[in-house]
Amino acid sequence: MNEFGQKWVVGGLVGLGQITMLAKEAVASCLTFKLAKRDLLFQIYSIGVKSQSVVLVTGAFTGMVLAAQTYFQFHKVKMDTATLAVVSVSMCSELGPVLTALMVAGRVGASMAAELGTMRVTEQIDALRTLATHPVDYLVVPRLVASLVALPILTTEAMAIGIAASYIVGVFLLGIDPAYAWWNMLKYSHDSDVQIGIIKAVVYGGIIALVGCYKGLSCGMGAEGVGRATTEAVVYASISILISNFFLTLVLEQLALILKL
Protein backbone atom coordinates (compact mmCIF):
# COMPACT_ATOMS: atom_id res chain seq x y z
CA MET A 1 0.00 0.00 0.00
CA ASN A 2 1.39 3.42 -0.87
CA GLU A 3 1.87 6.25 1.63
CA PHE A 4 -1.40 7.96 0.71
CA GLY A 5 -3.35 4.73 1.19
CA GLN A 6 -1.71 4.08 4.55
CA LYS A 7 -2.55 7.62 5.72
CA TRP A 8 -6.14 7.19 4.59
CA VAL A 9 -6.54 3.89 6.43
CA VAL A 10 -4.86 5.18 9.60
CA GLY A 11 -6.94 8.37 9.48
CA GLY A 12 -10.13 6.34 9.09
CA LEU A 13 -9.27 4.05 12.00
CA VAL A 14 -8.32 6.99 14.23
CA GLY A 15 -11.62 8.72 13.38
CA LEU A 16 -13.57 5.54 14.10
CA GLY A 17 -11.78 5.15 17.44
CA GLN A 18 -12.48 8.76 18.39
CA ILE A 19 -16.17 8.49 17.51
CA THR A 20 -16.32 5.34 19.67
CA MET A 21 -14.72 7.25 22.55
CA LEU A 22 -17.20 10.09 22.03
CA ALA A 23 -20.08 7.59 22.11
CA LYS A 24 -18.70 6.07 25.31
CA GLU A 25 -18.43 9.53 26.96
CA ALA A 26 -21.95 10.42 25.83
CA VAL A 27 -23.46 7.17 27.14
CA ALA A 28 -21.62 7.58 30.47
CA SER A 29 -22.94 11.14 30.68
CA CYS A 30 -26.52 9.97 29.87
CA LEU A 31 -26.33 7.52 32.76
CA THR A 32 -25.79 10.39 35.22
CA PHE A 33 -29.31 11.65 34.30
CA LYS A 34 -28.16 15.27 34.51
CA LEU A 35 -29.55 16.15 31.08
CA ALA A 36 -31.25 19.56 31.04
CA LYS A 37 -34.87 19.11 29.89
CA ARG A 38 -34.88 22.52 28.22
CA ASP A 39 -31.86 21.68 26.03
CA LEU A 40 -33.32 18.28 25.14
CA LEU A 41 -36.71 19.73 24.16
CA PHE A 42 -35.02 22.39 22.05
CA GLN A 43 -33.00 19.74 20.21
CA ILE A 44 -36.05 17.52 19.69
CA TYR A 45 -37.82 20.53 18.22
CA SER A 46 -34.81 21.38 16.06
CA ILE A 47 -34.19 17.81 14.83
CA GLY A 48 -37.70 16.35 14.87
CA VAL A 49 -40.25 19.09 14.31
CA LYS A 50 -38.18 21.09 11.83
CA SER A 51 -37.45 17.97 9.74
CA GLN A 52 -41.14 17.13 9.33
CA SER A 53 -41.70 18.73 5.95
CA VAL A 54 -38.61 17.28 4.28
CA VAL A 55 -39.30 13.78 5.65
CA LEU A 56 -43.01 13.82 4.74
CA VAL A 57 -42.32 14.98 1.17
CA THR A 58 -39.57 12.34 0.79
CA GLY A 59 -41.79 9.58 2.22
CA ALA A 60 -44.81 10.52 0.11
CA PHE A 61 -42.99 10.71 -3.22
CA THR A 62 -40.93 7.59 -2.52
CA GLY A 63 -44.17 5.67 -1.85
CA MET A 64 -45.75 7.11 -4.99
CA VAL A 65 -42.88 6.33 -7.33
CA LEU A 66 -42.41 2.88 -5.83
CA ALA A 67 -46.11 2.13 -6.33
CA ALA A 68 -46.00 3.28 -9.95
CA GLN A 69 -42.80 1.40 -10.79
CA THR A 70 -43.93 -1.81 -9.06
CA TYR A 71 -47.33 -1.62 -10.77
CA PHE A 72 -45.76 -1.26 -14.24
CA GLN A 73 -43.65 -4.40 -13.71
CA PHE A 74 -46.33 -6.48 -11.92
CA HIS A 75 -49.00 -5.53 -14.45
CA LYS A 76 -47.07 -7.52 -17.09
CA VAL A 77 -47.57 -10.73 -15.08
CA LYS A 78 -51.07 -9.84 -13.85
CA MET A 79 -49.97 -9.27 -10.24
CA ASP A 80 -51.32 -5.71 -9.91
CA THR A 81 -52.86 -6.31 -6.51
CA ALA A 82 -49.47 -7.23 -4.97
CA THR A 83 -48.23 -3.69 -5.56
CA LEU A 84 -49.15 -2.28 -2.16
CA ALA A 85 -47.68 -5.32 -0.38
CA VAL A 86 -44.29 -4.64 -1.99
CA VAL A 87 -44.51 -0.93 -1.22
CA SER A 88 -45.50 -1.59 2.39
CA VAL A 89 -42.67 -4.05 3.12
CA SER A 90 -40.11 -1.83 1.35
CA MET A 91 -41.25 1.36 3.09
CA CYS A 92 -41.30 -0.24 6.54
CA SER A 93 -38.07 -2.20 6.57
CA GLU A 94 -35.84 -0.40 4.06
CA LEU A 95 -36.84 2.81 2.31
CA GLY A 96 -38.61 4.50 5.23
CA PRO A 97 -35.72 4.31 7.70
CA VAL A 98 -32.90 4.74 5.16
CA LEU A 99 -34.34 7.68 3.22
CA THR A 100 -35.49 9.42 6.41
CA ALA A 101 -32.02 8.99 7.88
CA LEU A 102 -30.33 10.28 4.72
CA MET A 103 -32.56 13.36 4.60
CA VAL A 104 -32.02 14.06 8.32
CA ALA A 105 -28.26 13.50 7.90
CA GLY A 106 -28.24 16.17 5.20
CA ARG A 107 -30.25 18.65 7.23
CA VAL A 108 -29.35 17.97 10.86
CA GLY A 109 -25.91 16.33 10.61
CA ALA A 110 -24.65 19.30 8.60
CA SER A 111 -26.21 21.76 11.01
CA MET A 112 -24.65 20.03 14.06
CA ALA A 113 -21.19 19.99 12.47
CA ALA A 114 -21.44 23.64 11.39
CA GLU A 115 -22.73 24.85 14.76
CA LEU A 116 -20.20 22.97 16.86
CA GLY A 117 -17.41 23.71 14.36
CA THR A 118 -18.11 27.45 14.55
CA MET A 119 -18.16 27.21 18.34
CA ARG A 120 -14.78 25.53 18.20
CA VAL A 121 -13.08 28.06 15.92
CA THR A 122 -14.46 31.00 17.93
CA GLU A 123 -13.18 29.41 21.19
CA GLN A 124 -16.71 28.98 22.56
CA ILE A 125 -15.98 25.32 23.31
CA ASP A 126 -12.81 26.32 25.18
CA ALA A 127 -14.96 28.86 27.05
CA LEU A 128 -17.37 26.09 28.02
CA ARG A 129 -14.48 24.04 29.37
CA THR A 130 -13.14 26.97 31.41
CA LEU A 131 -16.64 27.35 32.87
CA ALA A 132 -16.31 23.82 34.29
CA THR A 133 -18.72 22.37 31.72
CA HIS A 134 -17.91 19.20 29.80
CA PRO A 135 -18.66 19.81 26.09
CA VAL A 136 -20.00 16.25 25.76
CA ASP A 137 -22.53 16.82 28.57
CA TYR A 138 -23.69 20.16 27.27
CA LEU A 139 -23.43 19.82 23.49
CA VAL A 140 -23.37 16.15 22.48
CA VAL A 141 -25.77 14.43 24.89
CA PRO A 142 -28.88 16.56 24.16
CA ARG A 143 -28.30 16.16 20.41
CA LEU A 144 -27.72 12.42 20.69
CA VAL A 145 -30.78 11.76 22.86
CA ALA A 146 -32.94 14.02 20.67
CA SER A 147 -31.80 12.16 17.53
CA LEU A 148 -32.50 8.79 19.15
CA VAL A 149 -36.03 9.99 19.99
CA ALA A 150 -36.80 11.92 16.78
CA LEU A 151 -35.57 9.48 14.11
CA PRO A 152 -37.98 6.60 14.95
CA ILE A 153 -40.92 9.04 15.02
CA LEU A 154 -39.91 10.62 11.71
CA THR A 155 -39.37 7.18 10.19
CA THR A 156 -42.82 6.02 11.30
CA GLU A 157 -44.32 9.10 9.69
CA ALA A 158 -42.42 8.44 6.47
CA MET A 159 -43.64 4.82 6.43
CA ALA A 160 -47.25 5.85 7.00
CA ILE A 161 -47.32 8.66 4.46
CA GLY A 162 -45.42 6.54 1.90
CA ILE A 163 -47.98 3.74 2.15
CA ALA A 164 -50.89 6.21 2.08
CA ALA A 165 -49.48 7.97 -0.98
CA SER A 166 -48.86 4.65 -2.74
CA TYR A 167 -52.49 3.65 -2.02
CA ILE A 168 -53.74 6.87 -3.60
CA VAL A 169 -51.54 6.41 -6.69
CA GLY A 170 -52.30 2.70 -6.99
CA VAL A 171 -56.03 2.82 -6.44
CA PHE A 172 -57.08 6.20 -7.85
CA LEU A 173 -54.47 6.72 -10.59
CA LEU A 174 -53.53 3.22 -11.74
CA GLY A 175 -56.85 1.54 -11.06
CA ILE A 176 -55.77 -1.33 -8.76
CA ASP A 177 -58.63 -3.07 -6.99
CA PRO A 178 -58.57 -1.52 -3.49
CA ALA A 179 -59.96 -4.53 -1.60
CA TYR A 180 -57.40 -7.04 -2.98
CA ALA A 181 -54.57 -4.51 -2.75
CA TRP A 182 -55.39 -3.85 0.91
CA TRP A 183 -55.84 -7.58 1.65
CA ASN A 184 -52.48 -8.50 0.09
CA MET A 185 -50.73 -5.67 1.84
CA LEU A 186 -51.95 -6.86 5.26
CA LYS A 187 -51.18 -10.48 4.35
CA TYR A 188 -47.54 -9.94 3.35
CA SER A 189 -46.57 -7.14 5.75
CA HIS A 190 -45.62 -8.21 9.26
CA ASP A 191 -45.08 -6.55 12.60
CA SER A 192 -41.41 -7.45 12.26
CA ASP A 193 -41.08 -5.17 9.18
CA VAL A 194 -42.14 -2.17 11.24
CA GLN A 195 -40.02 -3.26 14.21
CA ILE A 196 -36.94 -3.68 12.02
CA GLY A 197 -37.53 -0.23 10.51
CA ILE A 198 -37.80 1.41 13.92
CA ILE A 199 -34.71 -0.35 15.29
CA LYS A 200 -32.78 0.80 12.22
CA ALA A 201 -34.03 4.36 12.75
CA VAL A 202 -32.69 4.38 16.33
CA VAL A 203 -29.25 3.23 15.09
CA TYR A 204 -29.24 5.84 12.31
CA GLY A 205 -30.22 8.54 14.81
CA GLY A 206 -27.14 7.64 16.84
CA ILE A 207 -24.92 7.66 13.75
CA ILE A 208 -26.15 11.08 12.57
CA ALA A 209 -25.70 12.74 15.97
CA LEU A 210 -22.32 11.17 16.75
CA VAL A 211 -20.79 11.83 13.33
CA GLY A 212 -22.18 15.40 13.22
CA CYS A 213 -20.96 16.22 16.73
CA TYR A 214 -17.58 14.53 16.22
CA LYS A 215 -16.94 16.40 12.99
CA GLY A 216 -17.91 19.70 14.62
CA LEU A 217 -15.84 19.17 17.76
CA SER A 218 -12.75 18.11 15.78
CA CYS A 219 -13.01 20.56 12.88
CA GLY A 220 -10.02 22.46 11.54
CA MET A 221 -9.46 26.16 12.04
CA GLY A 222 -11.20 28.91 10.07
CA ALA A 223 -14.09 28.99 7.64
CA GLU A 224 -12.45 26.30 5.51
CA GLY A 225 -12.30 23.94 8.48
CA VAL A 226 -15.99 24.47 9.28
CA GLY A 227 -16.95 23.96 5.62
CA ARG A 228 -14.96 20.74 5.41
CA ALA A 229 -16.39 19.44 8.70
CA THR A 230 -19.93 20.13 7.47
CA THR A 231 -19.39 18.30 4.18
CA GLU A 232 -17.64 15.38 5.85
CA ALA A 233 -20.40 15.06 8.46
CA VAL A 234 -23.02 14.56 5.73
CA VAL A 235 -20.85 12.28 3.59
CA TYR A 236 -19.62 10.06 6.44
CA ALA A 237 -23.03 9.85 8.11
CA SER A 238 -24.68 8.92 4.80
CA ILE A 239 -22.07 6.27 3.97
CA SER A 240 -22.26 4.86 7.51
CA ILE A 241 -26.06 4.64 7.22
CA LEU A 242 -25.90 2.79 3.90
CA ILE A 243 -23.19 0.36 5.05
CA SER A 244 -24.80 -0.32 8.42
CA ASN A 245 -28.15 -0.84 6.67
CA PHE A 246 -26.79 -3.91 4.91
CA PHE A 247 -25.53 -5.51 8.13
CA LEU A 248 -28.60 -4.48 10.13
CA THR A 249 -30.84 -6.05 7.48
CA LEU A 250 -28.91 -9.33 7.63
CA VAL A 251 -28.87 -9.47 11.41
CA LEU A 252 -32.41 -8.22 12.10
CA GLU A 253 -34.09 -10.37 9.42
CA GLN A 254 -32.30 -13.45 10.79
CA LEU A 255 -33.31 -12.48 14.30
CA ALA A 256 -36.92 -12.02 13.19
CA LEU A 257 -36.85 -15.50 11.63
CA ILE A 258 -35.40 -17.07 14.77
CA LEU A 259 -37.88 -15.31 17.04
CA LYS A 260 -40.68 -16.00 14.51
CA LEU A 261 -41.91 -12.40 14.63
Binding site: E123, Q124, D126, A127, T130, L131, A132
Partner: protein, 248 residues
Protein backbone atom coordinates in the same frame (compact mmCIF):
# COMPACT_ATOMS: atom_id res chain seq x y z
CA UNK B 1 -0.32 29.21 44.05
CA UNK B 2 0.41 28.41 40.40
CA UNK B 3 3.67 26.65 39.67
CA UNK B 4 4.86 25.81 36.17
CA UNK B 5 7.78 23.35 36.00
CA UNK B 6 9.92 22.57 32.94
CA UNK B 7 7.00 22.87 30.55
CA UNK B 8 7.61 21.77 26.95
CA UNK B 9 5.10 22.07 24.14
CA UNK B 10 5.40 21.60 20.41
CA UNK B 11 2.92 21.48 17.56
CA UNK B 12 4.18 18.97 15.01
CA UNK B 13 7.79 19.87 14.25
CA UNK B 14 7.39 23.36 15.66
CA UNK B 15 8.52 23.78 19.29
CA UNK B 16 6.55 26.53 21.05
CA UNK B 17 7.73 26.31 24.65
CA UNK B 18 10.94 24.79 26.06
CA UNK B 19 11.65 24.21 29.75
CA UNK B 20 9.40 27.05 30.90
CA UNK B 21 9.30 27.40 34.70
CA UNK B 22 7.88 30.06 37.00
CA UNK B 23 5.68 30.54 40.08
CA UNK B 24 2.77 32.87 40.72
CA UNK B 25 1.80 33.57 44.34
CA UNK B 26 -1.78 33.80 45.52
CA UNK B 27 -3.23 37.26 44.91
CA UNK B 28 -0.37 38.26 42.63
CA UNK B 29 -0.94 39.97 39.29
CA UNK B 30 1.48 38.72 36.65
CA UNK B 31 1.73 39.88 33.06
CA UNK B 32 3.26 37.62 30.41
CA UNK B 33 4.63 39.55 27.47
CA UNK B 34 6.30 38.45 24.27
CA UNK B 35 6.10 38.68 20.52
CA UNK B 36 3.04 37.62 18.56
CA UNK B 37 3.08 33.88 17.90
CA UNK B 38 5.62 33.42 20.69
CA UNK B 39 3.50 30.97 22.72
CA UNK B 40 1.89 33.30 25.30
CA UNK B 41 -1.66 32.14 24.67
CA UNK B 42 -0.47 28.52 24.53
CA UNK B 43 1.13 29.00 27.95
CA UNK B 44 -2.15 30.41 29.32
CA UNK B 45 -4.09 27.45 27.90
CA UNK B 46 -1.58 25.05 29.46
CA UNK B 47 -2.13 26.67 32.86
CA UNK B 48 -5.88 25.98 32.68
CA UNK B 49 -5.31 22.61 30.93
CA UNK B 50 -7.13 23.51 27.72
CA UNK B 51 -3.96 22.08 26.14
CA UNK B 52 -1.74 19.31 27.45
CA UNK B 53 2.06 19.81 27.48
CA UNK B 54 4.49 17.30 25.95
CA UNK B 55 6.31 17.22 29.29
CA UNK B 56 6.56 19.18 32.51
CA UNK B 57 4.10 19.98 35.27
CA UNK B 58 1.50 22.61 36.14
CA UNK B 59 0.72 22.67 39.84
CA UNK B 60 -2.33 24.47 41.21
CA UNK B 61 -2.00 24.68 45.00
CA UNK B 62 0.39 21.73 44.83
CA UNK B 63 -1.82 19.52 42.63
CA UNK B 64 -0.32 18.57 39.28
CA UNK B 65 -3.09 19.00 36.70
CA UNK B 66 -1.12 17.58 33.76
CA UNK B 67 -2.60 14.27 32.66
CA UNK B 68 -5.93 14.68 34.45
CA UNK B 69 -8.91 13.73 32.31
CA UNK B 70 -11.63 16.18 31.29
CA UNK B 71 -13.98 15.15 34.12
CA UNK B 72 -11.23 15.50 36.78
CA UNK B 73 -10.35 18.91 35.33
CA UNK B 74 -13.90 20.22 35.89
CA UNK B 75 -13.16 20.45 39.65
CA UNK B 76 -9.82 22.19 39.01
CA UNK B 77 -11.34 24.67 36.55
CA UNK B 78 -14.00 25.76 39.05
CA UNK B 79 -11.21 27.85 40.60
CA UNK B 80 -10.47 29.58 37.28
CA UNK B 81 -12.07 32.29 35.20
CA UNK B 82 -10.79 33.10 31.75
CA UNK B 83 -11.31 36.10 29.47
CA UNK B 84 -10.63 35.16 25.85
CA UNK B 85 -9.02 37.31 23.18
CA UNK B 86 -12.23 37.32 21.11
CA UNK B 87 -14.42 37.19 24.27
CA UNK B 88 -15.79 33.75 23.15
CA UNK B 89 -19.35 34.67 24.11
CA UNK B 90 -22.02 32.09 23.26
CA UNK B 91 -23.55 33.79 20.26
CA UNK B 92 -26.88 31.97 20.47
CA UNK B 93 -27.48 33.47 23.94
CA UNK B 94 -28.23 36.96 25.21
CA UNK B 95 -25.79 38.86 27.43
CA UNK B 96 -27.84 37.87 30.47
CA UNK B 97 -27.78 34.16 29.52
CA UNK B 98 -24.04 34.32 28.86
CA UNK B 99 -23.25 35.87 32.22
CA UNK B 100 -25.72 33.62 34.06
CA UNK B 101 -24.37 30.46 32.37
CA UNK B 102 -21.84 29.37 35.06
CA UNK B 103 -24.37 29.87 37.86
CA UNK B 104 -27.08 27.98 36.00
CA UNK B 105 -24.72 25.06 35.39
CA UNK B 106 -23.87 24.91 39.09
CA UNK B 107 -27.57 24.91 39.97
CA UNK B 108 -27.05 26.39 43.43
CA UNK B 109 -29.03 29.61 42.91
CA UNK B 110 -32.69 30.43 42.28
CA UNK B 111 -33.60 32.25 39.03
CA UNK B 112 -34.25 35.42 41.05
CA UNK B 113 -30.83 35.29 42.69
CA UNK B 114 -29.19 34.67 39.31
CA UNK B 115 -30.94 37.70 37.77
CA UNK B 116 -29.81 39.90 40.66
CA UNK B 117 -26.22 38.63 40.47
CA UNK B 118 -26.12 39.13 36.68
CA UNK B 119 -27.40 42.72 37.02
CA UNK B 120 -24.85 43.44 39.75
CA UNK B 121 -21.95 41.93 37.79
CA UNK B 122 -22.90 43.80 34.62
CA UNK B 123 -22.92 46.95 36.74
CA UNK B 124 -19.40 46.14 37.99
CA UNK B 125 -18.11 45.89 34.40
CA UNK B 126 -19.92 49.09 33.40
CA UNK B 127 -22.64 47.54 31.23
CA UNK B 128 -25.91 47.98 33.13
CA UNK B 129 -29.08 47.44 31.11
CA UNK B 130 -27.50 45.31 28.38
CA UNK B 131 -29.04 42.03 29.58
CA UNK B 132 -31.28 41.45 26.56
CA UNK B 133 -28.70 42.27 23.88
CA UNK B 134 -27.10 39.59 21.73
CA UNK B 135 -23.28 39.42 21.43
CA UNK B 136 -23.55 40.45 17.75
CA UNK B 137 -25.04 43.79 18.86
CA UNK B 138 -22.03 44.64 21.06
CA UNK B 139 -18.75 46.40 20.24
CA UNK B 140 -15.38 44.65 20.80
CA UNK B 141 -14.81 46.40 24.13
CA UNK B 142 -18.32 45.60 25.36
CA UNK B 143 -17.90 41.93 24.41
CA UNK B 144 -14.70 41.74 26.45
CA UNK B 145 -16.49 43.28 29.42
CA UNK B 146 -19.29 40.73 29.11
CA UNK B 147 -16.61 38.01 28.89
CA UNK B 148 -15.09 39.39 32.09
CA UNK B 149 -18.53 39.53 33.77
CA UNK B 150 -19.09 35.86 32.85
CA UNK B 151 -15.66 34.97 34.26
CA UNK B 152 -16.07 36.77 37.59
CA UNK B 153 -19.74 36.11 38.43
CA UNK B 154 -18.89 32.88 40.27
CA UNK B 155 -15.94 34.54 42.05
CA UNK B 156 -13.04 32.33 40.92
CA UNK B 157 -9.70 32.45 42.72
CA UNK B 158 -7.62 32.77 39.57
CA UNK B 159 -8.38 34.95 36.54
CA UNK B 160 -6.63 34.47 33.21
CA UNK B 161 -6.78 37.19 30.54
CA UNK B 162 -5.78 36.43 26.96
CA UNK B 163 -4.86 39.69 25.21
CA UNK B 164 -7.61 41.70 26.94
CA UNK B 165 -6.82 44.97 25.17
CA UNK B 166 -5.80 43.76 21.71
CA UNK B 167 -7.76 45.41 18.93
CA UNK B 168 -9.26 48.08 21.19
CA UNK B 169 -8.70 51.84 21.02
CA UNK B 170 -6.52 53.39 23.78
CA UNK B 171 -9.49 54.74 25.72
CA UNK B 172 -11.37 51.43 25.81
CA UNK B 173 -8.05 49.65 26.57
CA UNK B 174 -7.57 51.94 29.53
CA UNK B 175 -11.06 51.17 30.84
CA UNK B 176 -10.38 47.42 30.52
CA UNK B 177 -7.10 47.88 32.43
CA UNK B 178 -9.00 49.75 35.16
CA UNK B 179 -11.50 46.93 35.29
CA UNK B 180 -8.77 44.29 35.66
CA UNK B 181 -7.23 46.26 38.55
CA UNK B 182 -10.64 46.83 40.19
CA UNK B 183 -11.60 43.16 39.95
CA UNK B 184 -8.23 42.12 41.39
CA UNK B 185 -8.59 44.47 44.34
CA UNK B 186 -12.25 43.70 44.94
CA UNK B 187 -12.14 39.90 44.63
CA UNK B 188 -8.49 39.44 45.79
CA UNK B 189 -7.89 37.11 42.83
CA UNK B 190 -4.66 35.91 41.28
CA UNK B 191 -4.44 37.48 37.81
CA UNK B 192 -2.42 36.24 34.84
CA UNK B 193 -2.56 38.60 31.87
CA UNK B 194 -1.11 37.79 28.47
CA UNK B 195 -0.47 40.85 26.36
CA UNK B 196 1.96 42.63 24.07
CA UNK B 197 0.51 46.01 25.01
CA UNK B 198 3.33 47.47 27.15
CA UNK B 199 1.21 50.32 28.49
CA UNK B 200 -1.33 47.80 29.74
CA UNK B 201 1.41 45.55 31.14
CA UNK B 202 2.85 48.44 33.14
CA UNK B 203 -0.55 49.35 34.60
CA UNK B 204 -1.95 45.96 35.58
CA UNK B 205 1.17 43.93 36.35
CA UNK B 206 2.88 43.61 39.72
CA UNK B 207 5.39 41.36 37.97
CA UNK B 208 6.21 40.92 34.28
CA UNK B 209 7.48 37.72 32.66
CA UNK B 210 8.92 37.97 29.17
CA UNK B 211 8.64 34.98 26.84
CA UNK B 212 11.34 35.00 24.20
CA UNK B 213 12.67 32.22 21.99
CA UNK B 214 10.33 29.69 23.65
CA UNK B 215 11.63 30.39 27.18
CA UNK B 216 11.10 32.83 30.04
CA UNK B 217 13.77 35.32 29.12
CA UNK B 218 13.29 37.93 31.83
CA UNK B 219 11.25 38.50 34.96
CA UNK B 220 10.81 41.53 37.17
CA UNK B 221 8.61 44.37 38.38
CA UNK B 222 7.31 46.83 35.77
CA UNK B 223 9.81 49.41 37.03
CA UNK B 224 12.73 46.98 36.61
CA UNK B 225 11.51 46.05 33.15
CA UNK B 226 11.15 49.58 31.87
CA UNK B 227 14.57 50.48 33.30
CA UNK B 228 16.21 47.39 31.76
CA UNK B 229 19.19 47.80 29.44
CA UNK B 230 18.98 44.27 28.07
CA UNK B 231 18.81 44.68 24.26
CA UNK B 232 16.01 42.08 23.80
CA UNK B 233 13.86 43.61 26.54
CA UNK B 234 14.65 47.12 25.34
CA UNK B 235 13.74 46.26 21.76
CA UNK B 236 10.37 44.89 22.84
CA UNK B 237 9.57 47.85 25.09
CA UNK B 238 10.60 50.39 22.44
CA UNK B 239 8.86 48.43 19.67
CA UNK B 240 11.81 48.42 17.26
CA UNK B 241 11.79 45.90 14.40
CA UNK B 242 14.85 43.72 13.61
CA UNK B 243 16.59 44.95 10.43
CA UNK B 244 15.82 41.57 8.74
CA UNK B 245 12.15 41.96 9.65
CA UNK B 246 11.81 45.23 7.75
CA UNK B 247 9.92 44.29 4.57
CA UNK B 248 10.45 47.39 2.40
Amino acid sequence: MIEVRDLNKRFGDNPVLERVSFQIEHGESVVIIGRSGGGKSVLLKLIIALLQPDSGAVLIDGQNIVGLNERQLIRVREQFGMVFQGAALFDSMTVEENVAFPLQRKGQHTPGEISRLVARTLDVVGLPGTEKKKPAELSGGMRKRVGLARAIIYEPRILLYDEPTTGLDPIVSDSIDNLIIRVRERLKVTSVVVTHDMRSARRVGQRILMLHERQIYASGTPEEFFASRDPVVRQFIDGVADPEDILF
